[in-house]
């Protein structure tokens, strides 16, 4: 039997530990200001649990889901800037099929629901194809990931505009509402979808050799190729997966407000997803990655946003406030701080082992 030795020093050095500490600190501040921040009630009107902590998990769903793919892409020493645009495109495609101005709102209009499954499948398929295009440009053409995905970042939103003719559609089609506003086991559906996605990606990368191959390609693509890893295929799969997950996030987002918004859906999502990955302890230079850390990173980002809304930070100060918290989190995780803190865990510091 494997038996992990309890090692305080290595725990203190782990970036995830510090991400968790940061999250707990923010929550502690919330608790001090308003103890009822933590109250969770059952809401009979919706059949769901109702509380700020539920909101945080619920609203972090989009970024968590996208960041699962982004973690792998960053572990490959790449980055994917197109995720936000794909979110907008996915939402636009879904609403394109859903134009359903029901009589409830007295506006008889386009009545063009196709088989509902298409509403889900088409956006996901289109996003996956565009992800494969990203992967193709990077692995076969040899473009820099940041450039290749920048192309789609810029034109993806344009595609979304074309799909809906620059318009914002609203739908009332109830099966579609389930994705973003439905519930399962008293939890909002986005949380359930997130759990499923995180579990699926974790199993895929950790129970197969895929995760190790990703890390290997991220550290040294040439050496990986020489040792028989098809790095091009790994890159294709990671970018396609990220795009596919962006498509899911787009569907959730569209379902939450039952409409599309090609201008605003997914704005800055690439930045939030990258930030979630970095806070979670994955190095931008590629190599080792941590999916659990990414989940915590995403939750931290959403906790900050909820904090701002909940405690009514004046809107002019919102951006500065967010930046301040994120700087604190990153500093808390930085090498010098962790080194220093790890000494607290060590019984005795060996002479000469002190780093600057």
């Amino acid at each position: 039997m494997k038996k992990k030795q309890f090692n305080l020093s290595s725990i203190m050095q782990s970036k995830i530990t510090w991400a968790v500490v940061a999250e707990l600190l923010i929550l502690l501040v919330c608790f001090i200001i308003r103890p009822d921040f933590f109250s969770i009630k059952y809401q009979p009107a919706t059949g769901m649990l109702y509380g700020s902590l539920i909101d945080i998990l619920n609203r972090s769903a989009e970024i968590t889901i996208i960041a699962m793919g982004m973690t792998l892409v960053i572990a490959l020493a790449g980055t994917d800037l197109s995720v936000g645009s794909l979110v907008a495109l996915s939402g636009a495609l879904a609403l394109k099929f859903l134009r359903w101005d029901v009589l409830v709102y007295n506006t008889p209009g386009d009545y063009t629901v196709k088989p509902f499954i298409l509403v889900i499948l088409v956006p996901l398929a289109v996003c996956t194809l565009l992800g494969l295009f990203n992967g193709f440009m990077i692995s076969r053409i040899g473009m820099q990931p940041i450039i290749a995905t920048l192309i789609l970042m810029v034109c993806g939103r344009g595609l979304a505009q074309i799909v809906t003719n620059g318009k914002q559609f609203t739908t009332l089609y109830s099966p579609f509402r389930v994705i973003g506003q439905g519930s399962f086991l008293f939890l909002p559906m986005p949380i359930i979808i997130t759990i499923v996605v995180v579990a699926a990606v974790s199993l895929f990368v950790r129970k197969t050799a895929f995760g190790t191959m990703v890390e290997s390609v991220g550290i040294n693509p040439s050496a990986s190729r020489l040792s028989g890893i098809d790095s091009k295929r790994i890159i294709m799969i990671c970018f396609a997966l990220t795009a596919f997950l962006s498509g899911i996030a787009g569907l959730i987002m569209a379902s939450r407000v039952m409409s599309n918004d090609s201008n605003n859906f997914g704005i800055n999502f690439e930045m939030d997803a990258i930030l979630a990955v970095v806070i979670g302890g994955t190095n931008m230079a590629g190599g080792k990655f941590s999916l659990a850390g990414t989940v915590i990173g995403s939750i931290i980002i959403r906790t900050i946003v909820t904090f701002v809304y909940y405690f009514g930070i004046v809107s002019e100060a919102t951006m500065a406030f967010k930046a301040l918290i994120i700087i604190l989190v990153i500093v808390l995780q930085s090498e010098p701080v962790r080194q220093r803190m790890s000494k607290v865990g060590k019984k005795k510091v060996k002479g000469g082992a002190v780093h600057a």
């Binding site: 921040f37 709102y105 609203t170 407000v257 918004d261 909820t306 809304y309 909940y310 009514g312 809107s315």
Partner: protein
Amino acid sequence: MLIEGPVKTMKKILALAIVLVMIASLSVAAYADDVKVAFSQIGQESDWRTANTDSIKGTIEAHDGWTLIYDDAQQKQENQIKALRNFITQGVDYILFTGVVETGWDEVLAEVNEAEIPLILIDRMPDCADKIDYVAAFGGDFVEEGRRQVAWAGEYLKSIGRGDEEVAVAIMEGTTGSGAQVGRTEGNLAALKEYPNMKLVAQQSGNFTRTEGQAVMEAWLKSVDKIDVLIVQNDDMGLGAIDAIKAAGLVPGKDIIIVGCDSVKAAFEAIVAGEMNATIECTPLYGPFVEKTIEDLEAGKTFEKTILHPEEGVYDCVGGIDLGTVTSVLAADVIDSRVY
């Protein structure tokens, strides 16, 4: 090189041909007694903007003897500056201009002045408007819109017998720093002083989007003890907030009175469905104004250097609420005639 000769000759012939074509087209343009109206639009950012473009384009194109030179700047200032310089080179008769940002227009608009092309400012005013010459200016009155939002809520409360009751008001602002947010907030806060029974309990930006409107409302419903009136600085945020209110087990439009702004079609639908209470109009239909102004200018009339505002309505769930400058209209009566 051997082929240099022929290539040079080719180039010369080509250049000559181009010059000839240009002269020809110039002379055609000179003979046709057209009024050339150039329009530099920001780009397509929202349904409001689309309706704005369609209105102006449609009016000018349909007018006898007028031709439109349209430029879509795709939200970029440099594109607009380029377009304005192109308009000068082409020697247009009028320039319609709305700037994507407020600052940085001094130089190019001074060039327009030097070229003595009449400049008509629409919608967003550049910050250098005092320093340059323009023949007419036309745009929404954001401060008045903000005032009307609060005044509507105050008068509506009076009409249902809650005029003396202390009510909690939440203001959801637009994108921080945008002209609409600054103006509407100013109007909101000023009008709140007129209604001492209305107390401001929360104020936050929802960035003009449905998604953020929903998230902000969701947090407020937990952090603020009671909200009676929700002022949203555009309709989209209100539409998002409606879902959050329902998720909290409350009835939008009844438990919480919602007053929006812009008057988009979806807001009318929500008002008719009883989930929203009122929307203050911010019309994008500038076409008729532009047409009349240019006709007047052609006839030799001049305008003062002041910003004119469009006539805008207030649409709500009851109708007949008197706001001093305007009386509200029942949304259900006009919903079918709304074009955007």
